[in-house]
Each structure stands twice: as C-alpha cells, then as structure tokens.
Symmetry: C2
Subunit: 356 residues, 2 copies
DNA sequence: CTGAAAGCGCTTACAG
DNA sequence: CTGAAAGCGCTTACAG
C-alpha cells in the first residue's frame, strides 16, 4: 500500500547513483568509511532530490526518537515561556525535538503526563516538578530543574545566591526593616530565595515573612495584603520572591498613595515580562535560563548517548553533582534608599540606576 | 542487535496466547473482525505484560506520527502559556502529542521551525503566525490562529467583537473621551480590536490611538507614555489592546497620582495572569482559548483523517469557513464612571462590579 | 571502501 | 473469524 511519504527515500538516492542503501546511509551519517568522493556525490544527490530522512524509521531501527519531553507543573505559570523557549532552543541546537506535557498543577496528571511522553518514546525528559514532588525513576533519563537544595535536582538557578544579592542590595541602600513576601510555604525555590535574602541582609536588619497563601486562606483570594499598614509600622522595603507578588505589592502600595521608591522599595524575582514595563520598573533577579537549559539538555544527552554502551541501562535521574547557575541582579527604579525624600507621589520617577 | 526496547511487543503477546501478531493488532485496534472473547484475552494479556505499543513502528507503517506541531511567533509572549496549555490539552484529548517550535520573532526562523517540525513528521501543525506573515503551503495540514479578518485564518477569537463589548462597556459608564493604546500598527489582531472598540463606542465618543511603537521610536524603549498629560486634557478612559500595555498604563497613571478608577478607567485585553492580581484589578476581555484550541485541533484532525482517502492529498491551510470564537468581558475594579468622585487616591478600592 | 542481508514493531490487504 | 506474508525506511554487524 502506498504510504504518506512525499519525498524520496534512501533507496531512491541509492538507485539514482547505482550504489547500495547501506552506502547512502553511511555516507550521510558519516559513520561508515565511505570514500570522500562518494560521500560528496551522495550528498549532492540527496540535496537534488530533496531527501528528508524518515525519523520514524530511524527511531524504529535505533530505538531512539531524537525527542525530549518537557514536563511542566503548570504551563500557565508565567515563568513557563522562558523555560520552554530555553529548552526548545537548547534541544533544537542539539538536534532534538521537544514534546510538551502539562501536569496542570495536579500530581496525578504529572504522572500521567510522564507516561504519555514515555509512550511516545522520548529519549529523556526535563521535568520542572510540582513543588514538593519527588520524581521517581520514570523509565528514561530525567533532568530535574528545581532548586539546588532539592534532593535529586539536576540543574537549577542558585536561588539562594540570588536572594543573597538582593538582600545585600537592600541592605546597602540602608533598609533596616524589610517585609518578605512569599506565596507558598512548601516551595523549595521560595524557601531558598528567602533564606538567601536573610543571609544577604546580615545582622541589623529586621524582617518578617508574609505568606500570601495564609493571608488568602483567611481573607479570600485577591484580597489586599495590608501592605500600607506594614509601611506605617516602619517597613521600608518589600521583597517578594516572585515578580507576580512584587507586582501585586507595587500596585497595592501605589494605590494607597505610597510612593515607590521614594517611600518604600519593592523587589521581585525572575525578571518576568512586565518587570521592565511597569512604572517604576521593577528591581529583580534574573535566572540564566539559557545556561540552565543547556546544562539540563547536555546532561540528558550525555546519558542517552552512553545508554547504548557498556553496563548501565541508565533510566533515572541524571543528577550527579548539581549544577548551580548564578542569578543576576537587575537594578531598576523600584528600589532606592529608604525615606530618602518622603515626598508625595510625583509624576517624575527618580532617575535611579538602570542596569539592563 | 538488541534495541532499547524495555517492554514486550506484539509478538510476545501473540506467542503467549498462541495467536498471530495480526490478530493481536486487530484485537487491540478494534479494526479487524476478531471474536469478542479473543479480544478480551488479548487485552488482558497486554495489560498483564505491560505492553506499550511502539509509536515509531506504527508511524513507519502508517505514515502518521500522531504528533502535531505548534509554531509560535515568540514563546516569550505572555499569551503563550494559555495557547500552549489549550493546544496541548486539546491534542492530548485527541490522542496526539505536541511538538513545539519557536520562531523567536524572526520570519526566517519561522520557516526553519516549520521545516524542523516537518522533518519530524508531524501530521499537521497549528501556527500562530508572526504578524503580517502569510503562511504558504507548508506540506502538511495547517491550522492558522490569528484573527478572523486575516486571509487564510482557520480559527480565532472574535477580536472585533471583543472590542465592541469593551467599547460598549466604557460608553455605558459614561466615558466620552477615550485613549486607545496599541503597540503595533501592523498587527491584525490589534487593528481588529481597535476597530471593534470604535464600533462599540458609537457616536458621541471622541477617541485617539496611541501607538507605543511610535512613541518609543522617538523617546526610546520603556519611556513614559505621557498619560498623565492625556488625562489632563480630558481623557477619562485608557483602553489598551493588550494587558501588558494596560499594566503599563495603570502603573504610569498611579505613579502620577491619578486614581484608577476614580479619576480614569483602564482596560486591557486577554486576561493575562496579572490582571486579577493588580490593584485595582484589571477589566479585560478573555479569549476562550480552550474552544479555539479544540476547533483548531479538530479541523486539523479532520483533514489528517481524510488524507488517506479519495482524491486530495490535502497539505495546506485547513481554512474553509473561519471560526470566530466569542470573547468574554471581565469587569473588575479598574473601570468606573468618569470622574464619579474626583477624590485623591485612597487606599479603599471602590466596590465595583466583579464578575469572575 | 562497498554491498547483501537482516530486522526494528507494526498494519494491512489478502487468502483461508 | 484468524493467519501468513509483505513492507514502511532505516542502520548495523558482517562479509567481501
């Protein structure tokens, strides 16, 4: 029966050249020892005919699909675009495709998503686990991107170190009473960031942590966080562990007539899309997603390639020693010295440092 | 040579049951006429053995991979999570996997991304084109998600209709002078939204469009938009055609000491993640991405399934009659009657309607 | 350096 | 209702 194949296959090239398919294969892959002239002829003919290799056939034969899975806790997460873009880029540079799977925040769906990818024969997967989840052996090489303090983590941003940088920045500006804002007490990433912030503050800075999940458990979703009241009690900086919370804080404070950064400073994490866009632009910490993705994909590919060889049919976490990728502080207008000029909100933003 | 296959194949089931592989195949697929008892036995044995079909083999044999490609103009786009999640969901419900490809804003890369997906043998693709791009015949069924007014569009939100709803909402509140805010003059989506807004205003509303790209071309990226000055000249509402611009407007106005919604109203489009989170929460228009994705995937699958049959080796845009999916107005606190109470900014948001 | 042959796991006419 | 056989397009020992 005729199959949906549009272009020519290896046999067509072989026939056109009067050589064997094996030679075409070897010439194209550069594996077998084929004479340079023949290699050239084969390449030329392949190009002329518009040959496109059948990845399905190759997969069937070699047992490798050349596809990596990307499992995300919740695609709707605003950090997702950065992650997906970086992984897709790293993978396609390495000649791999990326199949996505969304666990939609649910642990059961995470398991199901992993199973779906496995059925599709991915050679390995990158998993950004749902918080608290420990990824068991899934039956193929796995790179986990979470936080360096998470057991089984493969590669991650140095969230703690990022916190330290931000903590020092605020300390250097002269803040002495800082409100930390987190959303979720069980997030390793957030806890690391908070730990780093406190370490960066050093002695002499008083701080308190506000968990939004707890506020909302009492007052309902989207309720005010009471930040104006906090400012009234002497907090001069609000350090959120995510840009979304920082945005929430910034607008709540602005709406209460509290000038940022003249009266209080606000900081975030992750440099999400709106951070440079809001007024005042948000001081934040950026992850080097490109590097993280490169390391994750490289680790995966290393294991995948070994898999053919020697002893271990590696099919678990590729963590060995965790890679810890530095984060970068981005100072924008939302931070300044505390009460440097306790003016009424004006429409002239202070100059501030701007490092892009 | 032993291949990377972990589990049993059809032959294993066939052997265990003393039947042929063909029968196992027919029983499992439900295609051939196999006796009910045998079907049951085959299913049981498959489950017992933990049989997982080889999609690579099936693909090689049938010419279908069961994978759809998703091409995005720029994964970093904040709308992307919604799109990707919806497409992934629709596809996986239909038994398809989703391979992503990012054109990173570049037209050449868009072409390359499409080629990569094609090489991987996707059965079809969903393309969200870069603005202005017209997708040529790519060699497989394609569903284009852009805007109903775009030639070749397959399915899209009714951006114009959404604009109309928002226009009417502002008109009903009593606004008479509205500033429209767009980023890009060549975006079909944005032009449709603006057209709808104007239509929704009807007569008696004065409006003007501010294109951010033009402002920035002169004043540089991230510069103030001069909205406070606009408010001073009598504009009481600022209708952005994206939530990101709305956020920019909201914070710029707040920072200038202009109360939203007491003094001016601000609206966005798309109901992105931060819209319900900022203070005041943003009135916006939501796309029904789930429906759009379902329609796009369904259209693709319809063509893919026909492909085996009769005449046309369909390999182009699956557009025939464009589906136009209604958008939904979400009224939150950022809109109110103009100058209803020209108070100083207070820290008590007005109650406002809230429709979630 | 080159080729003949086998086989990856499945599906599909076709014959029985 | 069931099975034998062919073949999708490739790669890989192996022989020459």
């Amino acid at each position: 029966m005729a199959i949906n194949r549009t272009g020519p296959n290896m046999n067509a090239i072989a026939a056109a050249l009067g050589v064997s398919a094996a030679t075409v294969s070897n010439a194209l892959s550069g594996k077998g020892r084929v004479s340079p002239e023949l290699v050239e002829k084969v390449r030329a003919k392949a190009a002329e005919l518009g040959y496109v290799p059948s990845l399905a056939a190759r997969a069937l034969r070699t047992g490798r699909t050349g596809v990596l899975g990307l499992v995300l806790p919740d695609i709707a997460n605003p950090l997702f675009p950065q992650i997906a873009q970086a992984i897709e880029n790293a993978a396609s540079n390495a000649g791999y495709g990326v199949l996505i799977a969304d666990s939609r925040g649910d642990i059961a769906m995470q398991t199901e998503a992993i199973a779906r990818l496995l059925e599709r024969g991915v050679d390995g997967m990158v998993i950004v686990p749902r918080r608290g989840t420990r990824i068991a052996d899934v039956g193929c090489p796995v790179a986990v991107i979470d936080t360096p303090s998470t057991p089984g983590n493969t590669v991650a941003a140095d969230h703690w170190g990022g916190g330290v940088q931000m903590g020092r920045h605020l300390a250097a500006l002269g803040h002495r009473k800082v409100l930390l804002i987190g959303t979720n007490t069980s997030s390793n990433v957030q806890n690391d960031r908070i730990g780093g912030l406190k370490a960066g503050f050093g002695a002499g800075i008083e701080c308190e942590t506000l968990w939004i999940e707890k506020v909302e458990a009492v007052a309902g979703e989207g309720c005010p966080l009471g930040l104006a009241e906090k400012a009234a009690t002497g907090f001069t900086a609000f350090a959120a562990v995510s840009d979304l919370s920082a945005l929430r804080a910034l607008t709540e404070l602005q709406r209460a007539g509290i000038g940022v950064p003249e009266m209080v400073s606000v900081t975030g994490f992750d440099d999400l899309i709106w951070s440079p866009v809001v007024t005042p632009a948000l001081t934040t910490i950026r992850m080097d997603m490109a590097t993280i993705a490169d390391l994750a994909v490289a680790a995966l590919i290393r294991v995948i390639s070994q898999d053919g060889e020697a002893e271990p049919a590696a099919s678990g976490n590729v963590a060995s020693e965790t890679d810890r990728v530095p984060m970068q502080l981005i100072v924008r207008q939302s931070t300044g010295a505390p009460n440097s000029h306790a003016l009424q909100p004006s429409n002239k933003p202070t100059a501030g440092e701007l490092k892009s």
